[in-house]
Symmetry: C2
Subunit: 428 residues, 2 copies
């Protein structure tokens, strides 16, 4: 019988921060981190969360998650957006802004933080990697573990990104529902409906709309990807054909669509009397284009934050994976790992089976995974069977939040601050 | 012991049509009509549905609902939009367009239609009323029963309108979710978020967003109603105050908001180089206004059809009421009533209790019920406790559709046409 060696370490604190655009399930990752840390008290004494992400670390504004009840932490699993606050705040390069990194280490040292969990996209993985480096350089070793999150689904290595599955599900549901609406009234009313979705560089969210249709003629009839240069004539011909064949045309457009010269379509819109850039996004631009060229009555919707906050329609698979990467991050730290990120590994598509793997932060940082050409139909306006096989499992299952009085009950944390230990404040 | 008199009538057919903008639950009313008619075979032989609403009656394009399975009809209860097609087609006055009414009677006569169920808003109740009149004048008596439907909730007499509760729930949920998103990132990102909702004349949908907040400081911080003339200075002061106090400001704006001169705010927007009216709706106009005056970073969403098609987030109360008015309409017809509409009667708010009443079509037709001033706070930007008591029960309960592969399963009917019996076609 083999005996496990017992490693006795002094427990140290962990720092957890949410970064960048929030999602319907980033708090499920927070829940995974905190609940798992609470089961490893001999290694992790307490988890401090940054108020407003990394900004909370720089300003020594730490939230004591130990003061939150088990029920409140459990409730994070079904609560959208960033419960501790997130930040759009990119730390510059080490040479350019060494003071920021030194400040981080100073704060971590003051609060005996030995573990850094950074929940974000590729920029954040870059930051986490740099923090690990600077810690080593400054003689303050800190285990930096990334926790993947992005609705854009554009991180490399991992099969998919927590946050994406729920947006994908929301957009596929919304497209299917709105298409039924348009179909029922097309004879005497709206013939062209445009839904604008997120995705400035990668068209994964737009692609997900394709799941709404199942057979030829089903909506969406046209998907506009940022990966495909927009061609006005081909597009208009496709709209016309769709209206002639089906009676209507549902178009899903990614906010990041550009023309052949690389110019965002959204920028091609109108300007007001003062020359200010137009108000609308790409959705209204595309809708208006069909009206002017073909004369069809149109409507458009811009889902904006509604899509990434829609916890009420979250994918059960996404929620599970978001929790799992939070849990795995803590387990990696407990195992003594550093500068890594848990990734989702697809073992099988049908039936869908996945597990958690591991990747070095430096291989994640600052890289983008776009929708491959093989996932887009030859004409550039739809998704292929291969894309459908990839996407479909990610929206699988429903995971409804609890409701009271007709509305989802989302938790609100106490967010009690940890007492400051440093004298000097830090100017952002 | 009292014996029921047995009335022997020759069973006749019924005509059912959906009219105007569709909703998440208008098919639940269709389900109520058809299922109830099937239980009254001695009175109603079969239900023919108009393909694309009243247009189907004029063109003698009738769908034989008798050819649809019980399971398909049952599935209508959880299927959004208009399963038979709806139309924006208003019949003119009797004098002006007598030919249309005569054609209707001709089609009804050809198909032995003795009952006319018209599922729509106030325009449709006007039409149903006129059909009843013209039938009498032309010696073809037909029982015309209205079935209320409108997301706008603006029909008089009835306490609320089927279709509204589900939009209200969707908007309240979406506002709560998007507000959490904005709150989590306001420190370093978006400070003003604008959600544009439907409601060109009445602000009921905008009011429903108010349910998202429960205590002082909760979003939405500002609701813009069509019932209140827009005052730019007061509005901007309120935005500024909200950002200063809460760190962010969530605004819900009704598409029908007008300034003091009666001009739609949406029309105050930009024009393109050719002088075409601006693309955006009122949402982007309002967002841009805050940016220009106060400099805040903003985002905006326009829910458009997503809100009224969102069966995935339907109110259980709304679904029940939609079914109940369809059922009651048939029961009224069986009882020999004419030119009436079932209405929803509120018996109690807490706990919520309702029943079905009855109102003459002429009292419903062409009237609009707006949000009363007592439901809007003194400053014009929020809802009062009385409004909350009225609205809250209407979004009560969840009624999820079945899902397969991560998406709601909505029924698609066979829609087999009834054989035409008239020689001449009808030009719309």
């Amino acid at each position: 019988m083999k005996r496990q060696p017992i490693v006795r370490m002094r427990p140290r604190n962990a720092f957890y921060a949410q970064s960048g655009g929030v999602t319907a399930v980033i708090n499920a990752s927070a829940c995974g981190v905190i609940e798992t840390a609470r089961r490893h008290k001999r290694v992790i004494a307490n988890v401090y969360a940054g108020r407003d992400g990394i900004v909370g670390a720089l300003t020594e504004d730490l939230i004591d998650t130990g003061r939150e009840s088990a029920a409140a932490i459990r409730g994070l699993r079904h609560t959208p957006a960033g419960a501790f606050g997130s930040a759009r705040y990119k730390l510059a390069g080490l040479e350019k802004n060494r003071a920021q990194y030194e400040r981080l280490i100073e704060v971590f040292r003051a609060h005996d933080i030995g573990y850094f969990f950074y929940n974000g996209g590729n920029d954040s993985m870059d930051t986490a990697h740099k923090v690990s480096e600077i810690g080593r350089l400054l003689g303050y070793p800190i285990a930096c573990i990334g926790v993947p999150k992005t609705v854009d689904n554009d991180l490399p290595i991992t099969d998919c990104c927590p946050g994406f599955g729920s947006v994908a599900k929301y957009i596929a549901i919304s497209t299917r529902e709105a298409a039924l609406d348009v179909a029922s009234m097309a004879r005497t009313s709206t013939k062209v409906f445009v839904l604008e979705v997120m995705g400035r560089h990668a068209g994964w969210i737009a692609a997900a709309a394709g799941l709404a249709g199942q057979k030829a003629g089903d909506a969406p009839h046209i998907i506009l990807f940022p990966e495909i240069a927009f061609d006005r004539e081909q597009f208009l011909a496709k709209v016309k054909g769709s209206v002639q064949r089906c009676g209507y045309c549902v178009i899903v457009v990614s906010e990041g669509v550009r023309d052949a010269s690389g110019k965002f379509l959204a920028e091609a819109g109108t300007r007001d009397a003062f020359g200010h850039a137009q108000l609308g996004g790409v959705g209204p631009v595309v809708a208006q284009m069909t009206k002017e060229a073909l004369g069809y009555k149109f409507h458009w919707a811009v889902a904006d934050y509604l899509q990434r906050a829609a916890r009420h329609a979250a994918s059960a698979v996404d929620v599970k994976q978001a929790y799992a990467v939070g849990k795995a991050a803590v387990e990696f730290a407990v195992q003594g790992k550093n500068a890594v990120m848990p990734v989702i590994v697809r073992n099988s598509s049908m039936p869908y089976r996945w597990s958690i793997g591991e990747a070095p932060l430096e291989k994640i940082a600052n890289r983008e995974k776009k929708v491959p050409r093989t996932y887009i139909t030859a004409d550039g306006f739809g998704i292929t069977a291969a894309c459908r096989r990839y996407l479909s499992p990610l929206i699988g299952g429903e995971d409804y939040p609890p409701y009271r009085d007709g509305l989802p009950v989302y938790v609100e944390l106490k967010k009690i601050a940890v007492k400051r230990r440093l004298k000097q404040p830090f100017a952002l």
